[in-house]
Symmetry: C2
Subunit: 201 residues, 2 copies
């Protein structure tokens, strides 16, 4: 029952992957040709087609792989979560940042600079949105939201991603714990209060 995959396949796939990431950072996804990948990976161009249908297929396979890991990394414990609490924001942010720390070069290639893969950000946003939604069960007895839940989530997710991108772009200038704490307070209490600016009404 030991269905081991051929070593040659593993080696080739790894070569392709490494070459691909490097090339994205060098010239951007769109500019890459299959021949580029083959050259860099030191394989025949034909060999590429033995493993992937085309360039988008390679990209998607790779993205889904990493985002699957991200999904698994963010585990919520709803019991300890106060509904509508800022704890959920902080927890998700914290675990996402830790996961990113374990895959910096990949996330850098995907999220930062000219050559970023915009599609990746969209996929990541959806995952974040699901996770927040998941841990966001409204307690009964609470008053209904005063604003559109969709609007609220759009706001939360986009600011969430904004912070993450800022953090990765600046080579993680603050510890993950600090960022997640600042972020959740920023969102929950407003920038005027958290930034120490005079409160107006």
């Amino acid at each position: 029952m030991s269905k081991k995959t051929d070593l040659r396949i593993l080696r080739t796939k790894q070569s392709i992957r490494t070459a691909f990431i490097a090339l994205i950072q060098e010239k951007g996804y769109e500019a890459i040709t299959i021949q580029d990948i083959a050259d860099r990976a030191m394989i025949n161009r034909n060999t590429f087609y033995l493993h992937y249908e085309n360039k988008p297929d390679l990209l998607n396979t790779y993205m889904d792989e990493l985002l699957g890991e991200l999904k698994n990394a963010v585990v919520l414990c709803p019991i300890s979560m106060n509904p509508y609490s800022i704890a959920i924001l902080e927890t998700v942010m914290q675990t996402v940042l830790e996961h990113i720390s374990r895959n910096t070069s990949f996330y850098y290639a995907m999220l930062i600079e000219e050559n970023r893969i915009y599609m990746f950000q969209v996929k990541m946003e959806n995952i974040i949105k699901d996770k927040l939604n998941e841990g966001w069960n409204p307690a009964e007895g609470n008053p209904p939201l005063a604003i559109s839940k969709e609007l609220l989530f759009e706001y939360l997710v986009s600011s969430f991603m904004g912070i993450i991108i800022w953090w990765v772009k600046n080579d993680r200038p603050l510890p993950a714990g600090e960022v997640s704490s600042q972020f959740s307070r920023l969102v929950a209490y407003g920038h005027l209060k958290v930034a120490g600016i005079a409160f107006e009404e």
Copy 2:
């Protein structure tokens, strides 16, 4: 001194533009070929090259044109602006939304769905960031920011764009004034307070 441009040029350029926008929505920017544009615009493929270098050139020309209009549309009156105030957020949001309302089909093609032009969002973010920065002169005597200004701006701009995209995607479900008011209050006072959720400390 009446350097009028040849009518043929105007007509051709307009045809190209219309065809281009339609094609983006139909099959996405990347999938479009010059021949596609020529067919749709009912011009010879060669004629395209008389006006634009290539596909990216066409895209950039068009984007810069509209974003130039956006830049001009957002005029700040620093006199009436309270530094660090939420008024600046509200004003910018309001004028941007109004500008978008005047060019919905274009912004829809650029910002929404599978076939969006991600580059456009980046350019737009930079404009928003500049505008916010412009109207954001710290009053002397105020305490220094308790958090990184960069982090704060990243947060503001990304949530700003998130709201805008949500608004365009959902066919502008609320009046511009309402959205800009809700947004500025959301950012300034926090989602807990604005959404009517029990405040925790």
